[in-house]
């Protein structure tokens, strides 16, 4: 089964600061997703990334968010100027053709103070 790691596991930041969350799939994949889960709420789709381009994004994914694969393997989510309401768990997921499945990473807990 494919593995996905995410770093850091927990990030604490001050409001207005930039944060970068990283997703590291163990093997090479084409499809990546970012999801967000505010505490006590459901998991919400943010953005999907295919072949090094954004393929779809939700209304949550506004101009303060960006994604990229800086070195062809890591997949990052950047929040330019964090707000209190950005505090949440952020999950990276990969889609594998062989399994035809999405596998979730363990998540990064972001706390904005």
């Amino acid at each position: 089964e494919p593995e996905v790691t995410q770093t850091p596991s927990h990030q604490v930041t001050q409001m207005g600061q930039e944060v970068i969350l990283r997703c590291v799939p163990i093997s090479n994949h084409l499809y990546f997703y970012w999801y967000r889960q505010i505490l006590g709420q459901k998991v919400e789709f943010l953005v999907s990334f295919y072949n090094n381009e954004i393929s779809e994004k939700s209304e949550i994914f506004d101009d303060q968010f960006s994604v990229e694969r800086p070195d062809g393997s890591n997949f990052t989510l950047k929040i330019r100027s964090t707000k209190l309401e950005d505090s949440a768990m952020y999950f990276c997921a990969i889609h594998t053709i062989s399994y035809n499945e999405q596998f979730f990473g363990p998540g990064t807990r972001l706390t904005v103070l």
């Binding site: 499809y31 709420q41 459901k42 789709f45 779809e56 768990m89 035809n100």
Partner: protein, 113 residues
């Protein structure tokens, strides 16, 4: 737009008993996938079971099984011989092809010893 509804915010079951969690969804697609994810206190998303819409046979994974009613757009999860370790949030999810996942609001399952 696809929506997923879980009408039971909380459920409780006695250890060794059976419990059924409900999920309904709305879609105009004919080919799609349905999932149940378990989220323990660690907040990691763990895939419990999946169902392809084109398959008439209900999926089973050990003590977990589903009742998939395509015409009614219903996808319930049955947990047999409940164990203390089954206590968690359970999310029903939908996706079509390579699209993002759409999650329900979740059901918190408590297992009583």
């Amino acid at each position: 737009a696809q929506t997923v509804t879980q009408s039971q915010p909380e459920m409780s079951v006695q250890e060794a008993e059976t419990v059924t969690l409900s999920c309904t969804y709305d879609t105009s697609e004919s080919d799609y996938y349905l999932f149940w994810y378990k989220q323990p206190p660690s907040r990691q998303m763990i895939l419990v079971i999946r169902q392809e819409a084109y398959k008439q046979q209900n999926a089973t994974e050990n003590r977990f099984s589903v009742n998939f009613q395509k015409a009614a757009k219903s996808f319930s999860l049955k947990i047999s011989d409940s164990q203390l370790g089954d206590a968690a949030m359970y999310f029903c999810a939908y996706r079509s092809a390579y699209d993002d996942m759409r999650f329900g609001a979740g059901t918190r399952l408590t297992v009583k010893p």
